[in-house]
């Protein structure tokens, strides 16, 4: 049973991640008053199949100046860590790969490991753009992981558990984004930064760094970085739903459908933010994190704790 669930989650998440690329291209086109890819299959959905076939048949080239083993290892790391995090995502009461009592900590820990793919890829490429992108990636991901971790402390206090299923059940009366609006905003901003999406895509800022840490990658190894990023978007959307928007809770429809609908909505928000906002300068990014988000998330913890204790009497 658990093997079947795990397989369904693995394949389903990879398929959603791949189709998210099409969704993003169509939505970006919609917001830029164009159509985007709409030829292959209904609504252009088969475009990703064509892209996959193309990318599989591309030459799998390792530059002669690269450090071979970490170079080949790096794209696998990002896929592995992101997919591992899905083990604790509570899709529905029955449909969860594993109910860890430290599920939230597991998610934070494993998704932090994803930074290794950025540093390994940037370092092993042995090129200056990759290295600069890798350095930016580490600093950004490590600092924003801090605020992400701190922003969910309020949720854990309200739910009284690290188990994600328990956290969802604790939201039966009131979804946590209302008492924890600050935590939600910080978590979502941190999520954008950790998946290094626009406006926080400084590790791969194409105007300055060609493609950042994956400049030297081609073929399916590049494809794995790419799909890894999109699966990361799915992961952050799913976690946002589970932590702040009541997970599978909702009237009429089955729980799994509610969870997927809410996740889809947040995937669209990711794309909307990308469509609307420019990229900040690197020092602005770090100043924003450490001077604004860190005090805010600490204040959020203190306030939540104070109100929680006062309410408990």
């Amino acid at each position: 049973m658990i093997v079947v669930v795990a397989l369904v989650v693995l394949l389903g998440v990879l398929a959603i991640g791949a189709w998210l690329i099409i969704l993003e291209r169509r939505l970006l086109a919609l917001w830029q008053d164009r159509y985007g890819p709409n030829r292959a299959g209904p609504f252009g959905l088969a475009q990703i199949v064509a892209d996959m076939v193309k990318i599989f048949f591309k030459e799998d080239w390792v530059p002669p100046f690269a450090d071979k083993v970490p170079f080949i290892l790096a794209p696998g790391v990002i896929i592995a860590t992101v997919l591992l995090s899905f083990a604790v995502v509570p899709f529905s009461p029955l449909f969860t790969v594993s109910r860890l009592n430290v599920g939230l900590l597991f998610f934070l820990g494993v998704s932090s490991l994803g930074v290794y793919s950025v540093i390994l890829g940037g370092w092993a490429s042995n090129s200056k753009y990759s290295l600069l992108g890798g350095i930016r990636g580490i600093v950004q991901m490590l600092s924003y992981e801090v605020f992400m971790g701190l922003s969910v402390v309020g949720v854990v206090m309200l739910a009284g558990s690290f188990d994600l299923s328990d956290i969802v059940r604790a939201q039966r009366g009131l979804w946590f984004f209302i008492p924890q609006i600050l935590g939600f905003v910080i978590f979502f901003i941190g999520g954008i930064a950790v998946t290094h999406r626009i406006p926080f895509d400084l590790p791969e800022a194409e105007n300055e760094l060609v493609a950042g840490f994956h400049t030297e990658y081609s073929g399916m190894k590049f494809g794995m970085f790419y799909v890894g990023e999109y699966v990361g978007v799915v992961l952050i959307s799913a976690m946002t739903v589970a932590l702040f928007f009541g997970g599978w809770l909702g009237p009429f429809l089955p729980p799994l459908v509610w969870f997927l609908l809410k996740t889809f909505l947040f995937m669209c928000v990711f794309i909307l933010v990308r469509a609307a906002l420019p990229r900040p300068r690197y020092d602005q990014l770090l100043a924003f994190g450490w001077k604004l988000l860190l005090p805010l998330s600490l204040a959020n913890i203190v306030l939540t704790a104070a109100i929680y204790l006062a309410a408990k009497g």
Binding site: D33, R34, L277
Partner: protein, 173 residues
Amino acid sequence: MFSILRSIWGVLLHTFAKRETVLYPEELPYLPPRARARIVLTRDPDGQERCVACNLCAAACPVDCISLQAAEDEAGRRYPSFFRINFSRCIACGFCEEACPTYAIQLTPDFELSERKRKDLVYEKEDLLIDGTGKYHGYNFYRQSGLAIRGKGKGEGDQENPPVDIRALHDPR
């Protein structure tokens, strides 16, 4: 902070905006009648080839996609023995049409040139010649010019006087 939210909202409003893209094969854009694309060779009102193989179009062509060979028939009319346009090179600039002294070479609005093989885009004279006169209906080069061909001597063209007899002693007028 407010400006960030405002720009996100502004982009979201574009969900309901009209899309600019013209979905080409299903939806054909309007092309003006003088739009420049595929080149044709026209005939004069009598059905004869207009081209006199002067090579001016080939000389004017900035991408050298026109090549032709001049010949002369027994009536004294010049014509191209072959006329070849490589449409994979043609940039539809229309310089050949401007250079042409006889209105023979003309550009049409048909732009849908695509082939599986590149050499299928090389058009020969048979592919280029059309039956009509194109944009200029009444014009016939040999009726306008002073050139003598069989059936038309010097001075018999339209708006032309007979040649002056330089040996005559008096002013012929």
